[in-house]
Amino acid sequence: MRISALLLAAAATLGMASGAFAQAKQKFTFGIVAKSQSNPVFQAAHQARDAAKELGQKYNVDITINIQTPPDEDAQKEAQAVEQLANAGVDGIAVSCSNANTLVPAINKAVELGVPVMCFDSDSPKSKRFAYYGTDDEVCGRLVAENLAKFMDEKGNVCILAGNQSAPNLQTRAKAVRDTLAKYPNIKIIDTIYHEETPDKAALAVQREQTSHPEINGWAMIGGWPLFTRDALKWQPGTVKVVAVDALPPELAYLKSGHVQMLLAQDCYGWGYKSVEILLNKAMNGKNPENPKVIDPLTPVTTANVDEFAKKWDKWLGK
């Protein structure tokens, strides 16, 4: 009986110790604020939950992801979400800025409250954010223009599809496209089209412009918005050359049909995953990345590697 009592006491002690050990696990909550829920590229970014799970197991911590992306693109709602997250005492925030200037006060306030903030996809360099993870927009614009010029044999008429005029990342890309194409004397830029960043509005913008300017034989799409709809490109495949940014599954179909010659894939999945990694390093160890601008690689996707690239999306979209 004494032995059983001792065993019971030992088991109870072990149980309490393991409970205490479990309680000692650090907990972190990170906020994610993408531009909008209606822009499909951010669906992959919201898979930051994968990073929470994997990194949580790796470092033996509990990570919770709090997504406060507004339904539609609205910089003020984003600013409001950043403030709410900061006031709720999260351990870090990652935000993709619809409008860099509008987010500055909210980001700075969050930092003043002790909440580190980083940007992904679209930066707010004037703010007190400690890091940025995303595309080098100048390189992105240049690659779009160079590849488009190559497919067009360095001659023809180009239109630039440019999305939200207020978004700083898109402004940089559009400028880089214009500057690069200026080096090709036989390429003329017909227009730069701005539009609401929803697939239907973007598709409509492309159709209108192509109809009113049938001489256009090249599209530089610095975002792939219209390619999330079916049959957005109403011309015979190959008659008009298209190079677009982003390579989500719906867009790959246009590569296969020949309407689009190249997609430059951003690391949409990494926006969420890498952001959690960077925020965790900051929250746990107080460390910033070596370079405040961490550049994500652009992956060219053509008919040669489209099938291989398509397989990666099952994981990235949480299927």
């Binding site: 829920q37 006031n87 860099a100 200037n101 007190k128």
Partner: protein, 425 residues
């Protein structure tokens, strides 16, 4: 046989809010109570260091305590009342128009145009000093005329007054333009303001285009005049809690301006002749005309006030965000009309109050904030998640429920009024 004198019913001063507002107050309280009870706790990090504890300087370790995520000043002030301030101001203006029997769906564009023009006037070159603060170097438009760079123009009070005057002036002008079209063209206000919604938006975008395609101001390394932003609309109050171990940053000026507009709107509608004329025109336009009320002036006034309220909203938004874009306010007209209707304004005219508009906006904002703070609702037997994607559904349901309560209160009121008349027969 002489007829007995017909006695006019005694005028009863209403001492309590009407049932419609009372119903809304109950909705707000119930909503707040529900969100508070369902809201999770959030960590409040208390800093380590030397602090006064019970009057004695003591070294304390870093500590984390839990607080209800909804019912705390750090949530209610910035995430509910400040954010709703510009919408509530526009809803009050919208209610005045709706009471008169009209509608103004150009308020979102007026807000954007007034904010954009204000930012254009107040922006100037700037740099960041060693402390990381933005130092503003004067108005951009005066840089070409340095002789006019008088200290009076650069004084913070002047910056604030200039920003307010420009925003309200643009709003008022837009409102008068709407009024002139409604009165002059005798077209339905919906059609007129649908047209001006596009015109005012075009105006903001055209200004941005003429500025070298800059659709967001300030451009480049510029900043807005700090006398208007940091020292006025975005004035910060640093609240230290728990003996100085926790910081909250609160901005009260938009809330104070919203409350001032609420009081002024309430006084205007309830106690001024102009306000009563608005109800009369909305209730029965022909009867108002025959009673000598000058309809064109009433209509001009209501649209001017609606424009002015949108201008004030633009001022608040621009000052708070310290920036403005040409697309600012897009879609806000729907939120504002919804707030006015939820607040009891009748789209057929003749009914509505400033307090109702404020409460209507508060209901919508509580729903939005509730979705953000709740995350998950645990009802014991089951739980479900709410996220930003559900916001539209929940807001739509909240509008239907609030209007249903309003209609029920109207029905009960009409039955109560019919009873004395029936008893007299």
């Amino acid at each position: 046989m002489t007829q007995p004198a017909i006695q006019a019913p005694a005028l009863r001063r209403r001492r309590w809010p009407q049932l419609q507002e009372l119903g809304l107050i109950v909705v707000v309280l119930l909503l707040g109570l529900g969100i508070w009870l369902a809201s999770p706790s959030v960590p409040v990090k208390l800093q380590a260091g030397d602090f006064l504890v019970n009057g004695v300087m003591t070294h304390v370790q870093r500590q984390t305590i839990q607080e209800n995520n909804f019912l705390r000043v750090a949530n209610l002030v910035p995430s509910v009342f400040t954010v709703m301030s510009w919408f509530a101001v526009m809803a009050i203006g919208q209610t005045i128009v709706i009471i008169s029997g009209g509608i103004d769906i150009s308020v979102g564009s007026i807000m954007g145009l007034s904010a954009f023009v204000t930012a254009l006037v107040l922006q100037g070159p700037s740099e960041i000093d060693n402390s990381g603060n933005v130092v503003w170097h004067g108005y951009q438009w005066l840089n070409h005329a340095p002789l006019f760079m008088h200290p009076f123009l650069l004084a913070p009070v002047t910056q604030a007054c200039l920003g307010a005057a420009v925003a309200m002036g643009v709003g008022l002008l837009c409102g008068l333009f709407n009024g002139l079209l409604v009165v002059g063209l005798r077209m339905h206000p919906f059609i007129v303001t649908l047209a001006t919604l596009s015109i005012f938006r075009w105006a903001a975008e055209k200004i941005g285009f003429l500025l070298g395609n800059n659709m967001t101001l300030p451009w480049g390394d510029g900043a807005l005049a700090p006398g208007f932003t940091n020292d006025f609309i975005a004035l910060e109050y640093h609240r230290m809690r728990f003996g100085g171990r926790s910081l909250e940053i609160l901005q009260f000026v938009p809330i104070l301006i919203m409350l001032a507009c609420l009081v002024l709107g309430w006084i205007y509608l309830r106690y001024t002749v102009w306000g009563r004329e608005t109800y009369a025109v909305g209730g029965n336009e022909e009867a108002a005309r025959y009673s000598g009320i000058r309809l064109p002036w009433v209509k001009m006034r209501v649209y001017a006030l609606s424009g002015l309220s949108a201008g004030i909203a633009g001022m608040l938004s621009c000052g708070y965000s310290k920036a403005a874009s040409a697309g600012l306010g897009t879609g806000n007209e729907l939120t504002v009309v919804a707030a006015a209707v939820v607040g009891g304004a009748s789209l057929t005219g003749g009914r509505g109050t400033a307090l109702g508009a404020f409460l209507g906006m508060l209901v919508l904002e509580l729903v939005s904030d509730g979705i953000s703070v709740l995350g998950k609702i645990n009802l014991g037997l089951f739980s479900f998640s709410v996220n930003k994607q559900d916001e539209r559904l929940i807001q739509g349901l909240a509008i239907i429920i609030a209007v249903a309560i309003d209609n029920a209160s109207m029905y009960l009121s009409s039955r109560r009024s019919a009873r004395p008349a029936a008893a007299g027969h």
